[in-house]
């Protein structure tokens, strides 16, 4: 379970990879990684769920909280790589109306 941070070469967008779970026990790590990047001046973020197992309500909550902060800074946080089961979690909670959700990172890059 770990989070990776990299910059997309051509666009300069920050891509955060969620490897494993995004849940109550580790969501603070993701939050601090995004906050660090915001402090460093980044405002465009993609969260890549291609290697994610599951997300709980705390994980959804931290995404909401981060999206608020990123938008306040004039940027956006776009979600990518969600499989059908993970996407269902966003649909059930109606958070699919709050986030831009794209199939792949390449698609997500064009969402900004």
């Amino acid at each position: 379970m770990s989070f990776t941070v990299r910059k997309d070469e051509s666009s300069g967008i920050v891509v955060l990879g969620v490897d494993g779970q995004l849940i109550v026990g580790n969501r603070h790590e993701l939050k601090s990684k995004v906050m660090d990047a915001l402090d460093a001046g980044d405002t465009r973020f993609i969260v890549d769920f291609g290697n994610t197992g599951y997300i709980d309500s705390s994980g959804l909550g931290v995404l909401v909280s981060l999206a608020k902060k990123v938008r306040e800074a004039g940027g956006d946080l776009v979600l990518a790589g969600l499989n059908e089961d993970l996407r269902t979690l966003f649909e059930l909670t109606k958070l699919d109306t709050l986030f831009q959700i794209r199939d792949s990172i390449e698609d997500a890059v064009t969402a900004f």
Partner: protein, 138 residues
Amino acid sequence: MATRHVELSLRVPTALDVVEEAVDLVARHCVASGVSPRAARVRLRVALCEALANAIVYGNELDPSKRVDVRVRVSGVGVTMDVTDEGGGFDPSVVPDPTTADRLMETDGRGLFLIRQLADEVSHNERGNAICMIMRHH
């Protein structure tokens, strides 16, 4: 496939960093007992994760002297998971819907809602410190 299954009980310490381990253990057991890997991957894991987090944070109020008990039975019909904490309980009927427009930007309050959406049946004991979730094989 044997109809009689191993019945699993876990005594989980009041610590959020063991939630993932407990959830994994239960999910792997369920798959070994015939639950579809697809159902176990997200649906079952998220429901159990929510129930455990609530038991640890709200039920046991992070008191390390307390424990959470989990009991899992797999039958031909489905999986039954009981999660019991040592807290005073709560009234599950007053938990508001987190999907209304005024609550959509809230960071909390989606746990019980997700459990109710993901499980086929959810019930609580009278005190409110035990939740029973049933997920039927589809």
